[in-house]
Each structure stands twice: as C-alpha cells, then as structure tokens.
C-alpha cells in the first residue's frame, strides 16, 4: 500500500511529499517528491543585482538565512574580486554561529515534537526567540536579515550588544543540559531513537550526505576545519562527532555542535570587543555598493571594464555542506548562480535510511535529517 505523507502532513515540516510503500507497518519503499516550494531562485538571481540576490538567500533557507548569505557572499566576492575587512569577517562568523544555534534549536523543537514530546517544542521556541532578539538588534529582522553585503556587512553592532550576547550565551549553555535531560534522560526516547535510521559512513559518502548526519557516522568532516573559510582558522573549537550513525547519534552531534558554537561565539565576542574598525570594504564600485543609485558615466564605465570571474564557495551550513557557484560575465547581474543544498543530498538518500523500519519511525528519522524545504527546492 502506498501512502502519501505530505505535502500537508505534520511530519514533513515543510512542503514536500514522502511517498511510502508499506507492508503492515513496515516500510518497504520510499520515494520523496520535492519541488512544491520551487521558487526559481536561481533564475530570479540572473535578473538581480549582486546585492539583491542576498534578499533571496534569506528566503532560500529560512532557518539559516545568514549562513546562506555567507555562502553566496563568499562566491560572489570571488567572482567580483572583492575582499572584505577583517572585522566584517568576524561579524559574519558571529552571524553564522548564532544562526547555527538558532537552526539547531529549531530542529530540536520540531524533532522532539515528532516523537510526541510536546513541551520541549515550547522550550526550544522560547530560547530561539532570544537569539532572534539579538539578530533583530543588529540586523533589524527576525528571519530575513539582508545583513551581509558584497565586501563586508551592512552595519556594525549596536552599543551594548556583546554584553547582552554573553548573557544569552550563558542562558543557552544552561538550557542545553535541560534539553539533554528531557531527551536522553528518558528511557522511551532512547528506545525510540537508538539503532534507528542507520546510515553508515560509506553510504553517506556515496550518496553525498554531509553535515551532522555524516558526523554522526563517525566521520570527522567539517569544512570549518578541513577547508577553513572566513576566520575559522583563528578560532578554537572541536568538531562534534558521534558513533552509531543513528538518530541518537545525530541528536548528540547537534547538541555538541551547539556547545561548540557557544565556545566559538565567546571568542568572537572577545575579538569584536577589542578590535573596532570598518565593516565594509572601501572603494567598492558604485554599482556594487548601491544597487538603486543611478549609474552615472563613471560607474557605467567601471562596470564595463570590470573583470569577469567565476566564484566557487562552500560553507558548513547548519544542515551540512552548502556550495555556491557564481559566474560573473561582466554585468550588474550574475550570469548564472548555482547552489548546492545539503538537505537536497540528504533527502535523496532517503531510501537508504528509511526502508526496513516502521511507519512510526519515519517521523523521528526524517526529523533527525533536519529538512528545510526552502533550500532543497530553492
């Protein structure tokens, strides 16, 4: 019997359809059907200024907007031959790591609801709102920030930000133990999640699975360490790894990642306190700096003579490795923008980690994958 789980189903956390073939309550085949949220971001980007594409990036992955902005900015800067100042790099890492905690808390809230634990959803949303408040204080928005710019970031931090951020970090640090107690301390949770949805490291590599799912299989791969972008080389942290490749291992990896992010953030806040400076690169071309300013003769010439280029970047997004490929053919719009979403690859391997388990296991397994449909469909 084929059943459709989606597009409107409490399990999906987004707009996609998991077609499941079951025998009794056992899953014998699955077929994910994506594309219900395909908004043509790659096509629209060809019609936008470089800085306008950032707007789309926020909506591309709506729980990790800043990480996707960072991804796009890195490759756009490559393609446009722009270099940001050091303080902007630290601010970007600040955004990335706060975003990682926010995204993981959102994942936690959704995941525990999938296995029937109701209260932690509320606790998670409560704690995530604190991070969103911080974002709001320096980007002005809760979800769609448009904060990063080609050549830096839009604005500096408001006064008193770092003190408030440290308070939030202390609060969060204390909450992580509470989360663990609610989940790992519960026998039912362990019974539900141990040895569930196993995806071995070799299968992960073959199917392009990255991020916490790969690290939960015991493979120590994190682009922040392996291929350090931005200023991750200067920061001290560990890569979260777990053995077991099951749902519990993914839970452990994400929890550890949040703790490591707190550790990174403390270093970044210290650095930001001590090193004031500019946050946007100087002598940016006018057409790049202000998309809606009238392009005069000077700017026009500059644009015509601007060197072509191709940018490729890859960042460790909360869900895994995201990549961007931006082609600059000398115009105010990118010629082609191509993104690689980690969740896209993680879902494409669904048959590997779903077949053989029960129907009741589908929500926790898919929950542990952390599906963000926006970035899959783009």
């Amino acid at each position: 019997m084929w059943i459709n789980m989606g597009p409107q189903h409490p399990m999906t956390h987004g707009l996609w359809n998991l077609r499941v073939k079951i025998d009794g309550e056992t899953v014998i085949d699955v077929d994910p059907e994506m594309g219900f949220l395909h908004r043509g971001i790659e096509k629209i980007s060809e019609d936008r200024h470089y800085n306008e594409v950032i707007t789309l990036m926020d909506r591309c992955c709506y729980v990790a907007g800043l990480a996707w902005e960072h991804l796009y900015i890195l490759s756009a800067e490559d393609a446009l031959h722009v270099k940001p100042p050091q303080r902007a790099e630290y601010l970007r890492v600040l955004c990335d790591e706060f975003q990682r905690i926010g995204s993981h808390i959102m994942w936690y809230a959704a995941f525990v609801q999938d296995i029937g634990l109701m209260s932690p959803f509320l606790y998670g949303m409560r704690d995530r709102d604190l991070i969103l408040d911080l974002f709001q204080s320096y980007t002005g928005a809760r979800l769609t920030y448009e904060y990063l710019r080609v050549g830096g970031v839009r604005s500096d931090l408001p006064p008193g930000f770092t003190a408030r951020a440290r308070e939030v970090l202390d609060w969060l640090d204390a909450r992580f133990g509470e989360y663990d107690q609610l989940c790992l301390g519960s026998d039912i949770f362990r019974k539900r999640c141990d040895n569930l949805g196993i995806l071995k490291a070799s299968d992960c590599v073959a199917h392009g699975v990255t991020g916490p799912m790969l690290r939960s299989a015991g493979m120590k791969r994190d682009l922040r360490k392996d291929r350090p972008y931005s200023v991750y080389r200067q920061l001290d942290f560990d890569v979260a790894v777990a053995e077991g490749a099951d749902v519990t291992a993914r839970y452990l990896v994400r929890m550890e990642e949040m703790r490591q992010s707190v550790r990174i953030l403390r270093q970044v806040l210290d650095w930001l306190d001590q090193n004031p400076g500019p946050v946007l690169a100087e002598n940016l071309p006018r057409w790049l700096g202000a998309p809606y300013a009238p392009i005069g003769r000077e700017g026009y010439l500059l644009k015509r003579n601007y060197p072509k280029g191709v940018g490729f970047s890859s960042v460790e997004e909360p869900h895994g490795e995201a990549q961007a490929y931006v082609v600059n053919e000398g115009g105010e719009h990118p010629y082609r923008v191509k993104f690689r979403s980690p969740v896209f690859a993680n879902i494409s391997a669904a048959r590997q980690y779903l077949v053989g388990y029960h129907v009741a296991d589908i929500p926790p397994i898919m929950g542990s994958v952390d599906v963000c449909v926006g970035e899959v469909d783009r």
Partner: protein
Amino acid sequence: MQPEELQARISPKLGENLLGVEPFAGTAGRVRFRPAGALELFETVRDDLGFRHLSMVGAIDWVDHREVFYVVWSDDARQYALLSTDLAADAPHVESASGIWPSANWHEREAWEFVGVTFDHHPDLRHLLMPEGYAFHPLLRSFKLHEPEELEVKSRRV
C-alpha cells in the same frame, strides 16, 4: 593537490579526451574534458585520485554551447576539484555519473530539468522540482521571466 598533479595523473587514462587542467581558486583545479571520456574520468577521479564524494552537478547555458560541471571532494586531500565539459547546444548529452556516484542521481535530474542536458543511462530521468509534463527548461537564457500581470490567469472564486 595541484593542477599539475591532477593533469599528470589523469592524462594517461584519458588521453586526448582530457582538454587540460586549469587552476581554480579554492579547489585543486578545474579539469576540462570531452564528454566522450566522461565515464573514464569519473572512475579515475573516484578510484585513483580518491575523490569519493560528489557534491554538486550543475549546468550552465552559454547560448552557443552548454557546460556541465561536477564538484567532487576528496577526504584524503581535503580539497575540492571541478570537472567540466562542454556540450553541443543542439542535442546536449553526456554519460550519467550516477553509476559511479549515487549522489549524482538527483543533481542530474535537476540539471536535465532546468538546463535540458540529457544524461545517458540515467536510471530515473524525470522531473524533480517542476510538475510532471512541464515543457520548458527554465534556466536556459532564452527563457525570459515576465511580470505576473503579463500572465493571463483565468480564475474564479470557489
């Protein structure tokens, strides 16, 4: 790994199907090859050079021809490499990589759907993100976007 090393290790296998390896920022290099040598190149890159992880398959419409590029990652070298090939614009097709890297499956479906590149011997080449029966390849340069007012929407209140 440097572009020269890539060139030295790939060219004995591929022969004239290898067009060259050029440096590319942030990666080990960009391998340009003829579509005829695709499978050989994929096997060489995966088995001999250790690029076991295929991250992305993308396609670009350059109007006069189409380009397909593959991004691969090696855990040993901790580096990316780009493989790219140019296809004729009238009937673009290349051998599917999904036999070598299973992860290529969905990426190639997407590339076929959006840029119209056919992947030979692909197990399941059907629409992924657009509905079944969608007749266009939206990421071609000839496909223009329009304001919604230009679309004729016949609607009625339910």
